[in-house]
Symmetry: C2
Subunit: 264 residues, 2 copies
């Protein structure tokens, strides 16, 4: 098993400190490209693709292993081990944020801090918790994705990206979704949208920056508040922007938030 | 001098044969992402960024070295040397195609074949040669770029990308242009648009696939015909598509052309 090939690991940048990037559902490491050039001047960057996405080795997809986010977190830790990474700053987006959190819970000694963009531990509404979606909504979304992945991508990318005045951004996300192996993407979507990692959060002792967007249909403000209250060492920043992908739609504001926290 | 860091070299894919990708002006290696997953299953992929673009080391920019396309071709050869690449299939786009051709002229023993998307050896109209632009046009374009790089990107990306019915594609290219260090991009644009590499072509003995687009404002059909007549071992394929970036706007048709030629 060659971990670096399996996950298409790419190391770039010039610096002592390591930033490890974990993207969310339906994308690959190229989704980070708008914030990377500025970071490359001061940090070592480690990028990878989840199995089934980008240039990962799709033959390494194991439905049992990847039936929970733990399987994805295990890959993150294997990459850290392979590259002997220590004192890592992990940057995670969306479900990639929760995968990063699970990795940090599993091996806290590897991580210095987590920078989490639009994280959510649970997308479902439950008693006393507003995840943003009813279970029936999620089942409808997953059924739509099963029926017609491309049509689903066309419909959902604009909701995820926000910024309706900039349709080019959604077009880019649609393009990105349609790059995925649809069979693997459907399974990953199910794991993503039906996970409930709230019980894990109390065990997350790594310092976390939580970056939420003011208008985000996938991770509403209540979720940011919940995470802020629940994670022992969390700082919450709310960007005054629309959408669930600020690293794509608002790269300057996102960079500013990340750099300010790292400088503190 | 660490060549692999300087040019942010990234190796991926599973296969014996090596494909080396050389992108054109204003982009970086992520521009190839729509055609890579399919190729990663059968080939070793070598990707990099020109100095001044993407995650390259911009401090390595040397105005003298990069005052001609030979400087960029030298980087391609240094990457080949560093990775001990032999029997390489080089995939080049736009000015990256001509940089690849110069590399193959310089060290033919390294290259098996060149797959050139929308190549042009000279963008200027000259006696008996239709490059597509008058010198005054080019000077105006370069002056516009000097004046306001972002405005220039907004205006020119749609002309370069074609496909006016899919504005998301141009938006992606604008985004890509605006990632570049503007000072370096302006110099690279001048070198690109004012180069005349027609005299070099007779020395290019590596087999070449030339892929042109039926409606391309940057590399008109006459240029493809010229290259086809001039390069000793060239095959010309005309894709029935619009724009100068078929690897972005028509990835399936582009892949089909590349794979058919490689299978022959």
């Amino acid at each position: 098993m060659n971990v670096l090939k399996r996950n298409n690991v790419h190391v770039a940048g010039r610096g002592q400190q390591t930033l490890l990037f974990v993207n969310g559902f339906g994308c690959d490491q190229t989704i980070w490209r708008y914030i990377l050039p500025a970071l490359a001047e001061h940090y070592r960057l480690v990028l990878f693709d989840h199995v089934g996405a980008g240039l990962s080795d799709t033959t390494a997809y194991d439905p049992d292993k990847y039936a929970s986010l733990q399987g994805y977190a295990q890959d993150v830790l294997e990459i850290c081990e392979q590259l002997e990474l220590r004192d890592v700053t992990l940057v995670g987006h969306s479900v990639g944020a929760m995968i990063g959190a699970l990795a940090a819970i599993g091996a806290p000694e590897r991580f210095r801090r987590l920078l989490l963009l639009c994280p959510s531990p649970c997308y479902l509404n439950e008693a006393d918790y507003h995840g943003g979606f009813e279970r029936a909504d999620i089942e409808n979304i997953l059924a739509f994705m099963e029926r017609d992945f491309v049509e689903w991508a066309d419909s959902f990318a604009p909701l995820i990206m926000g910024n309706p005045d900039r349709p080019g951004l959604s077009a880019e996300l649609i393009h990105s979704f349609c790059q995925n192996d649809p069979a693997i993407a459907r399974r990953f979507a199910r794991v993503t949208f039906l996970s409930d990692n709230r019980p894990d959060l109390a065990r997350l002792h790594t310092p976390c920056l939580l970056v939420q967007c003011a208008e985000d249909l996938i991770a509403p403000l209540e979720v940011g508040d919940y995470l802020h209250r629940t994670i022992p060492a969390a700082t919450l920043v709310t960007l005054p922007v629309s959408g669930h992908c600020p690293h794509v739609s608002a790269p300057r504001e996102t960079l500013k938030a990340l750099e300010a926290y790292m400088a503190a």
